[in-house]
């Protein structure tokens, strides 16, 4: 029985490897060195699926109602079998391609390049290459299996060391720049000729992260216990929180100087999306209204700022001035933009008040799409320039100091994000937040307990819209010109993705989500064309492995694990019935 399970997991891994090869994630990255000359991204991809298969087959399972960890021998056998199965499937793929000729496969799968074939056969004959793949995969699977059953004291540091080192390897374009900015020597860490980490650098990083991991698992819970803040409502602020907050703030303020212009630019995008995320989090996370048309507020904020601050049309042949151009100062315009967005939120919310779940999502999706069509339509050319958009948007300057440059923009965005987080936090911790939570958990009961559902739904749309429009306003300042191409449905999906990834209803989660989904792709420019693939994979992985998100809101997390909670509650409910005796 077990063997069949191992082989099935492994075969799936093999299919994943074939997929990675077909989309080009192996063949196009044979030159991307992560550590030294040996560890390249392509090689990593080749063994990653068997490794994961090994991890999975050695994971604890529920058998006959009890959770049972795999023994070492099971893990070794299972990992090796699963890895070998993965290798076999991939090897079959190689042999098949070789048999019918790779140039014929290439007609459909463009990424099956001679380079790829050369790489996966280790420049040998196809049969020899397949055998090497089989052996390598079996070894990787075995390693995964052993790692999974190793005691936590070993497993955690090893995992930390491996993942942090690889992350540093990936960030080879970013971290050296930061080192240069601060004026640190970096040749020991990153090889100037090969690009990736040097072996010495890799060892230092691995040792450091393993060390941190060990300290964390030994003393972490004690430290956390001391520093733990109350998640939602905290009447008093502790001094430790204050010190920690000040340190974080100091780091945030120093960041652009430390990291340089390229990373600051990426951070600027992260902040714009974080603002959108904070806004959508109010609608989706707090009030539980699934809104797939959030790009609406993004576009509204951007175009409203452009119109209010006196941007000009980008169109030829007609007057360069838009129909309305008030020429307001950016900071005077912002309150009007937010007000406008809040009103728009109410207008969008009103017709969908009676809808829930899927239906609400569908209708909002349509509303969002309307915006894209509208701003690009010939009908609105005199107002917003139609397909060619607008330009000459204010740089939000104060006393001649503009905010268009990445490093300056960062500060403007930071200020807005901090403000939005503060507002969002205060709302969540108030009577209003309580009403939203109650409404999310049980709308009808909330109504019967005195909460005006209509009002609080509209309030959520209005507040979410107002915060989201800030994101749009900042985006306009950052780019300086607008075209409808920036306001596609994809924005809605991305923002929802980062809210879900971070953890619905969690403010730190929004920031982490934005960093992961916007920041990482921004830093890893090599993977630009795989960005959406990574998005999808990340969201699916989070939904399967950690549905509450990376930094969950305690309550939302419980809602998503309702089933377990109910079972738990049922068990508890049985107790008093058992102990109770008739009086």
């Amino acid at each position: 029985m077990d063997a069949r399970r191992w082989i099935r997991a492994g075969a799936l891994g093999g299919v994943v490897t074939i997929f990675l090869a077909l989309v080009g994630l192996i063949g196009n990255f044979t030159g991307l060195r992560l550590v030294g000359e040996q560890i390249t991204f392509a090689r990593l991809m080749l063994v990653s699926a068997p490794l994961v298969a090994g991890l999975i087959v050695a994971a604890p399972r529920i058998e006959g109602g009890t959770r049972r960890a795999a023994t070492l021998s099971e893990a070794i056998r299972g990992g090796a079998v699963a890895g070998a199965a993965a290798g076999a499937v991939f090897a079959l793929g190689i042999l098949f391609t070789d048999w019918i000729g790779d140039e014929r496969v290439r007609r459909i799968f463009l990424n099956v390049s001679p380079q790829l074939m050369e790489f996966v056969t280790f420049e040998q004959a196809a049969g020899v290459g397949a055998a090497i793949i089989l052996a390598l995969s079996a070894a990787a699977g075995l390693l995964g299996g052993v790692l999974r059953v190793a005691p936590a004291t070993i497993r955690r540091p090893v995992t930390a060391a491996l993942s942090v080192t690889l992350l540093f390897g990936f960030l080879q374009r970013v971290i050296p720049i930061a080192f240069d900015q601060i004026g640190l020597e970096r040749d020991w860490l990153y090889s100037a000729s090969l690009g990736g980490l040097t072996w010495i650098g890799a060892l230092v990083i691995a040792a450091a992260s393993a060390g941190v991991s060990i300290v964390n698992s030994r003393y972490g819970s004690r430290l956390r216990g001391r520093f733990a803040g109350r998640p939602d409502t905290g009447p008093g602020v502790r001094p430790t929180t204050l010190v920690l907050g000040a340190a974080v703030l100091g780091l945030l303020i120093a960041a652009p100087q430390l990291l340089g212009s390229v990373i600051s630019e990426v951070l600027g995008s992260v902040m714009v999306f974080a603002l959108l995320g904070i806004g959508l989090n109010i609608v989706v996370g707090y009030a539980g209204l699934l809104d797939l048309g959030y790009v609406f507020f993004f576009a509204l904020g951007a175009y409203a700022v452009a119109l209010l601050t006196g941007a000009t049309l980008n169109a030829f042949g007609i007057a360069p001035e838009p129909a309305i151009s008030l020429g307001l100062n950016f900071y005077v315009a912002i309150p009007f933009v937010m007000l406008l967005a809040a009103v728009a939120g109410v207008l969008v919310g009103a017709p969908v008040l009676r809808l829930r779940g899927d239906y609400l999502a569908l209708v909002t999706l349509g509303l969002g799409e309307m915006v894209t069509v509208l701003v690009g339509s010939p009908w609105l050319v005199p107002l917003v320039g139609g397909p060619s958009g607008m330009r000459g948007i204010t740089d939000a300057g104060i006393g001649g100091l503009g905010f268009r440059q990445p490093q300056q923009f960062y500060y403007l965005a930071l200020a807005f994000v901090v403000l939005a987080m503060f507002v969002s936090w205060r709302l969540a911790a108030s009577r209003i937040g309580r009403a939203w939570t109650a409404m999310r958990e049980d709308e009808q009961t909330a109504d019967a307990m005195g909460i005006n559902i209509v009002r609080f739904k509209l309030l959520a749309f209005a507040m979410g819209g107002a915060v989201g429009s800030l994101g749009g306003a900042l985006f306009a300042v950052k780019i300086g010109s607008l075209t409808p191409a920036s306001f596609q449905v994809l924005v809605s999906i991305q923002v929802l993705g980062l809210v879900i990834l971070g953890g619905m209803g969690s403010l730190p989660g929004v920031i982490v989500g934005a960093l992961v989904l916007v920041g990482l792709p921004g830093l890893l420019r090599e993977f630009e064309e795989y960005r959406l693939l990574a998005y999808g994979a990340a969201v699916v992985a989070v939904m399967v492995l950690r549905p509450e998100g990376l930094v969950p809101n305690v309550r939302r997390s419980r809602e998503l694990h309702e089933e377990e909670a109910e079972q738990d509650a049922w068990v508890k409910a049985e107790e008093p019935a058992a102990e109770g005796t008739p009086a």
Partner: protein, 285 residues
Amino acid sequence: MGEGRGARGRRDAGMSKATAGTEAPVLEVRDLQKHFGGLYALSGLDLHVNEGEIVSVIGPNGAGKSTLFNVVTGIYEPDEGGIRYRGQSLVGLRPHQIVRLGLARTFQSVRLFPNMTVLENAMVGQHCRSKTGVFGAIVRTPGVRQEEERIRERASAALSFFGKRLSGYREEQPAFALSYANRRRLEMARAMATDPQLILLDEPTAGMNPRETLELRDNIVRMRDELGLTVIVIEHDMRVVKGVSDRVIACDYGRKIAEGTYEEVANDEQVIEAYLGRGHGAKDD
């Protein structure tokens, strides 16, 4: 006034002591009708409840008792008939508006906010008695802080109605972690936290063991004696009905079939028939 219109004439002689008052009733329901498709859940129900009374509504399953609650609290709109609370019509008001007027309820199937803490559940009850808006919530003015403090105290006080069962460390527990009986208690505490004058309890002892049931019987009486609430309770446990009721109203097929003291109603032929079917002798509890 409205008493006894739907009931048979001979029961008018046996009015209970509590209905004899001269004050206008707190709640008055006249000729209430509600159908779902062809099903007549309520067909011409009349009843009234006086200040400080505990009235039990009994009847077999499907008699329309819960529908009555749902219509009175605004969850359903009646097809016909009138509902007046202290002279004001409730027909057409939304549930949250009715709570504001001073009517609170519990549900037959416990409906808490399971992932909010016990205290937060009760604090939701105070929602309709507070008014902090967006601006206040963001700026947190002294007035808002005071209000929040007051909400917290009021909710805590409502929880302490059940002694230590919902107080202390339990306040910070999520509602789903409570035992079944405690969930029912929390639902009542949440209703009491809305500062009601009239409370409607829908089968408060369902699923409780005998000891808990007896305790709850005392609690219902305390609601009136200590908090001055008027109580309407739907109940199947006849010991509770007997123990708490100033007046009992029996319903069947969406109409009132009997009304009076517990003894009067319990010995009413129509009531016995409704519970046991035709052809059974008098039932002794």
